[in-house]
Symmetry: C2
Subunit: 442 residues, 2 copies
Amino acid sequence: MRVSRWYARYAWVGHVAERVLIETDGQRISAVTVDTDPPADAYRLPGFVLPGLANVHSHAFHRALRARTDAGQGTFWAWREQMYAVAARLDPESYYALARATFAEMALAGVTAVGEFHYLHHDPKGRPYGQPNAMGESLVEAAADAGIRVTLIDVCYLRGGFDRPVDGPQVRFSDGDPQRWADRASDAPSAAHVLCGAAIHSVRAVPADAMAVVRDWAAERDAPLHVHVSEQPAENEACVEATGRTPTELLAEHGVLGRRTTAVHATHLSGADIRLVGDSATRTCLCPTTERNLADGIGPAAALRDAGSPLCVGSDSHAVIDLFEELRAIELNERLASLRRGTHRPEDLLAAATTSGMAALGWDAGALAPGRLADLVAVAVDGPRLAGVDPDHLPAAVVFAATAADVTHVVADGRPVVIDGRHVSVPDVGWALDQSIKAVSA
Amino acid sequence: MRVSRWYARYAWVGHVAERVLIETDGQRISAVTVDTDPPADAYRLPGFVLPGLANVHSHAFHRALRARTDAGQGTFWAWREQMYAVAARLDPESYYALARATFAEMALAGVTAVGEFHYLHHDPKGRPYGQPNAMGESLVEAAADAGIRVTLIDVCYLRGGFDRPVDGPQVRFSDGDPQRWADRASDAPSAAHVLCGAAIHSVRAVPADAMAVVRDWAAERDAPLHVHVSEQPAENEACVEATGRTPTELLAEHGVLGRRTTAVHATHLSGADIRLVGDSATRTCLCPTTERNLADGIGPAAALRDAGSPLCVGSDSHAVIDLFEELRAIELNERLASLRRGTHRPEDLLAAATTSGMAALGWDAGALAPGRLADLVAVAVDGPRLAGVDPDHLPAAVVFAATAADVTHVVADGRPVVIDGRHVSVPDVGWALDQSIKAVSA
């Protein structure tokens, strides 16, 4: 099905517009007209129509952990052992099935592009697969079959900590040295729905000299460069002990920060760290539903924004997949920490999940405007959660009260992916999740 | 429709039981049998079946504020001005319509009993209606028509602060003196789906001598006694300044704490306050989605629990109506504050929304056991949010990943209220919300 004209009662075009005709020419938007009548051949989208959402930080396989780690006690590091156990069980086939189902869940939630922070490169013993990017191929095929675009963020991971080599499940993650990482990453799968990016897993997993290789690889390709930064206090302490610098200082010193760079988490930053991130216009990807699930803490979102860092969001560990939850948690966490309301405007939070998020992933999308990729998400406004809202408050209603279950229609690259709450190409997303998760669970 | 036998693949009977037959005799459960085959005449409930949920603290009319206060800045006190503006516009007819729609939204979310903290007693000029409990009647009728039970918690509210009389919209709240409050409350509407309770609005709104009247009124009737406690630091400061005591100390001194008492919020407590609440076995009603929305802060839930206070939850201002969100926020807030996971077991959180919550409202419900009121809630486990869960992790999955949208069936007092996600007696809950909210919005 290829529709070229979409019509919305309400749509977000930087403000709330009414009676909006969105015309497409293949995969891009060709015209947006407001205050107009619907042409007879237009597909009428219900509710409030937004640009497609960008899920900037994802580990697809973590979906298999949902609810299975929440009854126990401990810290992030105890959770990581459970996560490693799933990582150790995946092969290209089971990874494809799990990622396809997870990406389909994302599509149902309005996500049209995902940043997959991919480090499961090799077999469980650390040996390259016959096709060295077999696992990445699985992710790329999974995204295609789930109807969304993917930025395959190829992660460099070379050691288990500042003073130790990779161990156990981590051997899958490592290419051994930075040049072999670069060689494999350079051969990553390509397709129309795929962009490639690079990542430094973290300061603990990538030696300083290897950071330069990853940085230059991304710069040569004008590709997104992502890095986990200061998710946990222990990571900061280890970094300071080993290098005399905070993770952010170390990244800055090695030229990793900048406009193409996204710092993921950035939870435990000093004032100086915040200035380094902001002054370099490094983007910050907040993952609040994961950061609360993993007991990471509340990051300095407003301070980062004020310093000059554009914000975006990711569902990361997929404790839940609901970008509206991510967005409202940015503001609600700020309220819990400051006892003040209204630090983040709903409109700015919408931008985090659309314009800013798509930029973090390298996609020319995230706005309902001519020339952009034709990604549309319709959110029901007549259901129990949003009913009663007036047009002026639609951005606030979506950010503060909508859930993934309120998404009725999703269009990516001009193609319908979700219609009336049903995925077009994955007929039963629940079943796909159930089967693929049980295949990799103990 | 009166069904007497219900069958669940999975049900919560203090643990996860499989193949469960729940038999009812009118409005009560007569037998629960596990590991049994379904009789031919049983209604098969899908998913995971829980006891009906108790929404212990509600201001139904706040539903009209959803999303309309989130774009602005300020504190709780600025929000209160917006809330008062809606309060000033309600009459018995519009209050009925708004409460019916709001209670129907609760039913869709699995709530079978609500505690309505009711203080809109009089007309906008503070004059009693011809029928002095006309506004309470509206709430009682609304609950009946929405298919849920209500504990009408009649609130005593006599002054605007420690040093000032009621003013502006507050004149609706006041009966003038405690005896007139007691006289009116004694004439509150009664019906099979209604219990009456009493409330001291807060230490700022009820003078110490009047507290005794409310306390004794509740004691004579063995009725629930609720009180807002320390939601905001400013309330503590004003109380200490006026009385030399914290709100909790003042309540303790006047004999308000105890097993029939529920302290609502209890966000800003001292260590001594926590011991007073715990030692008296006073219940604590946490309202985390409201407490984050209103920038109240994170309360000491684990400390209260450890001191001996049973926890329960309410959706309070209805920023969202989703008790699973309330439950997980108890644990997730603790993780944000402590950087540790696993302070609250999922099973204990389920008890907060069921056994403990129903006890706080005076209902003999909250467990799937013979003799209890027949309240059942079925949560889909095959949708995108819960798919992949194994039976052992069902409590964690419901608490950490389910949303109100996953509730498919609700039975209250043995009667079906929601079937396949549709309300039985309110055919379009969204429309009912839309119309009733717009009728009271500026």
